[in-house]
């Protein structure tokens, strides 16, 4: 989905259903394509696609009622928000630890559960925040600083 705006930032909103393995990942592939269509550099669109995919599959595997991926594109930034309303993460530090996973066996059989999703999200974001509370849900905020199309390689590394 693409909301029309007038010259300002563009906002793309995708809803993701819990447990929907059949379609899981399609929104992210589409986001990558939409970003390319909006003139985002290929490397940045790829990073955004990776972030969206890991967030999307976490919504599919863990969320109670699905969630939303919202991508906002402005001249210098791509902002990605992945949000759900539960169940929330008990120990965020633990969840961010490479290799930690509570993926159920059906998800492991499909190749999930490396415990690397949140790490991949962080590695591809120039800025990353995660908020999660049991009962109210999880919200991940990521920012990509867009490289200029003619820039020769280095991406900025301002992380907090």
């Amino acid at each position: 989905m693409q909301e029309p705006t007038h010259g300002g930032p563009r906002r793309l909103v995708h809803h993701v259903r819990a447990g929907d393995i059949e379609h899981g990942g399609l929104a992210s592939a589409q986001i990558k394509r939409q970003l390319s269509g909006l003139g985002v550099a290929p490397q940045d669109a790829r990073r955004a696609g990776i972030i969206a995919f890991e967030g999307e599959m976490n919504l599919v595997v863990y969320s109670t009622n699905g969630g939303t991926i919202t991508v906002t594109v402005s001249e210098k930034l791509v902002d990605i928000e992945v949000a759900d309303e539960g169940p929330g993460i008990e120990d965020i530090d633990l969840a961010l630890t490479p290799g930690f996973s509570t993926a159920p066996s059906w998800a492991r059989e499909l190749g999930f559960g490396a415990g690397m999703g949140l790490c991949n999200i962080q590695a591809n974001a120039d800025w990353f925040e995660i908020h999660s509370h049991i009962g109210s849900g999880t919200r991940i905020l990521c920012r990509i600083e867009r490289r200029r199309h003619d820039a020769s390689g280095h991406r900025p590394t301002t992380r907090t």
Partner: protein, 123 residues
Amino acid sequence: MNLHEVSRLLEGSILTESRREDIEIDRAYAVDLLSDVLALTDERTTLITGNISPQVVRVADILNVIAIIFVRGKRPSDSAISYAETLGIPIIWTKKTMFETCGLMYANGVRPCKNRPMAAPEG
């Protein structure tokens, strides 16, 4: 090696119709877990996998993977094949194991992709 030669080497078959047999396969990455695929930083590489979940081709698309080799006789669904078709990502299907596939390809000049951890400091 091109796609056609790799397929013959692996005694496999190319499942996609637009075969793009001339595509050059010079680098590869072998992995079953999706997040391990997504840690891949190098583009234009070939993906070797035994994972036939519907997500594999979507991940390959996001990462700009140039071809996918499915090993151990694991056949992706028809919808995954036609999705790859529309993306122009050719698929090879082989009964050989992951180990044998990698060994044969390495022996024939295919090299690991230059995968670096994205979080590593640059410069």
